[in-house]
């Protein structure tokens, strides 16, 4: 067994490939030793990942990141709306929107969404939807029920779809939840969605609402907007792609 002792191995000329091993060989970094580099590529030159040298990775191969990929985050701070106008396409069959710390500026406002087909910009697609809710008051008096709610549903309506109604605007009052949008780029079928939110109802009660329906168009959906029915809002909304 031959062994070479040196501190540096370089190619004979600058910027040439330095090749380790031959086909069928194993190149071994001895256990206990560490391999340090910023970019790892496969033998075809495709980047697996790149680090900036501070542990922050980019260009990570999609197979390493799992199947639920954070696409973008919108942070609304006393904003009129939060819109996702890029990233909704045929890349994923399922888009998940997660809502955290949704707090309206106006008490009793509804948290809502609408979408645009690719040929539209006015957030007024036709929706048919169903909703039911379970609610319970802090006092234990009055409301303790689960029931269909005719208020937020739509029958071929073009209004913003209510995901949570009568949200409290107190300093500690908020909502959280998620919305699933299926196959938005499909040009054959309507676009189904369902979601659920848990929130602080304005009259000091816990409310859990379930919403489902379809956007009644065969045109692809590529924009989605979230806003309160009146007034501004604080919220963090994250869009994920799954698939």
């Amino acid at each position: 067994m031959s062994k070479v002792y040196t501190d540096t191995v370089t190619s004979t000329e600058a910027s040439q490939d330095l090749t380790l091993g031959g086909s069928g060989d194993n190149v071994i970094v001895t256990a206990g030793a560490t391999l340090k580099t910023n970019t790892i590529k496969d033998s075809g030159g495709n980047t697996i990942w790149t680090s900036d040298g501070s542990g922050n990775l980019s260009s990570v191969n999609a197979a390493l990141g799992g199947n639920m990929v954070l696409l973008s985050t919108q942070t609304a701070s006393n904003a009129a709306s939060a819109s996702f106008i890029s990233g909704i396409d045929s890349t994923y069959k399922l888009y998940i929107f997660k809502f955290y710390d949704v707090n309206p500026a106006t008490d009793d406002a509804h948290f809502t969404f609408q979408a645009n087909a690719t040929d539209s910009t006015s957030y007024d697609e036709t929706i048919t939807s169903a909703t039911f809710a379970a609610e319970h008051t802090e006092s234990g008096e009055g409301v303790a029920m689960v029931a269909y709610d005719t208020g937020p549903d739509q029958t071929q309506g073009t209004a913003f779809q209510v995901l949570a109604k009568n949200v409290g605007n107190g300093g500690d009052e908020s909502g959280a939840g998620e919305l699933f949008l299926f196959n938005p780029s499909n040009t054959t079928y309507v676009k189904h969605f369902y979601g659920t939110m848990q929130y602080y109802y304005s009259s000091d009660r816990s409310a859990r609402v379930f919403t489902a329906g379809y956007i009644n168009t065969t045109t692809a959906i590529d924009d989605i907007q979230f806003k309160m029915s009146t007034g501004n809002m604080d919220a963090v909304i994250k869009m994920y792609g799954v698939g």
Binding site: D7, V27, N38, S43, V60, M68, Y100, D101, R205
Partner: protein
């Protein structure tokens, strides 16, 4: 082009062996490269393997947005599972997947409670709603409905928040489901949660109980600990805590 044929290259001095210069490409023509620890040029660990294929210290950029498994807790005839680390501001949402939850006592309720930062006793104030969808195992659709359950909810209560009620203790009657806890590290808002659990009702020949519970922990203090337990007696089960970024 020069070829150096050798089996081992080691540092002549110190413990650093440098391959290539800035701008060069190091090509490994062999079929694999074997190393247990990968770091970037700044010395930040990207992942470490134990040599048996089990990775640790995996850079968050390599694991995606989640759900990311944080911890697994196993109860074996235990009075509770207490998760006292890992709940912080790292994730916006925590997801607890509970499987094979089997009580020692027939008819026990399975639930959870939390501690705010610095608190103990697992007795935070909760307001919640609860409803079930159920069906009779023996008399199909004779006792089937969707109904609100006033015994399972809380109005500013500090009790165990039920995930599944009146569960069966037989070996084939465990409970399973998922609890979502949102923004537990917030010091501005109350802490919302919702859960769905599938359980086996213990009496009358057995029911499928699809348990929906939701509510808020009515505190603006951060939540950093959670316990899962039965209302009475011990239990078996596995609880996995995931984070979602």
């Amino acid at each position: 082009m020069g070829i150096l044929r050798t089996k081992t290259i080691e540092p002549a001095t110190g413990s650093t062996l440098t391959l290539g210069a800035s701008g060069d490409t190091i090509t490994v023509s062999s079929d694999s490269i074997k190393a247990n620890t990968f770091k970037d040029a700044g010395g930040n660990t990207l992942f470490t393997s134990d040599g048996a294929g089990t990775l640790s210290s995996v850079n968050s950029g390599l694991v995606g947005s989640g759900p990311i498994l944080i911890s697994t807790s196993t109860a074996s005839d235990s009075s509770s599972i207490d998760i006292t680390s890992g709940i912080d501001s790292t994730y916006d949402e925590y997801m607890f997947v509970f499987t094979d939850i089997g009580p020692a006592t027939n008819g026990a309720n399975f639930g959870w409670q939390v501690n705010a930062d610095g608190e103990s006793g697992f007795n935070e104030v909760i307001t919640s709603s609860a409803f079930t969808s159920y069906n009779d195992e023996v008399h199909a659709n004779s006792y089937s409905a969707v109904a609100y359950q006033t015994a399972y909810d809380q109005a500013q209560g500090t009790d165990l928040q039920r995930l599944a009620s009146l569960t069966g203790s037989a070996a084939d009657e465990p409970t399973a489901g998922v609890l979502h806890l949102f923004s537990p590290a917030s010091t501005t808002y109350v802490k919302h949660f919702y859960a769905r659990a599938n359980s086996y009702y213990y009496a009358y020949g057995g029911y499928i109980n699809d348990n929906f519970s939701a509510g808020y922990i009515n505190t603006t203090s951060a939540i950093d600990e959670i316990t899962f337990k039965m209302s009475t007696g011990n239990f078996d089960g596995v609880i996995q805590m995931y984070g979602i970024k």
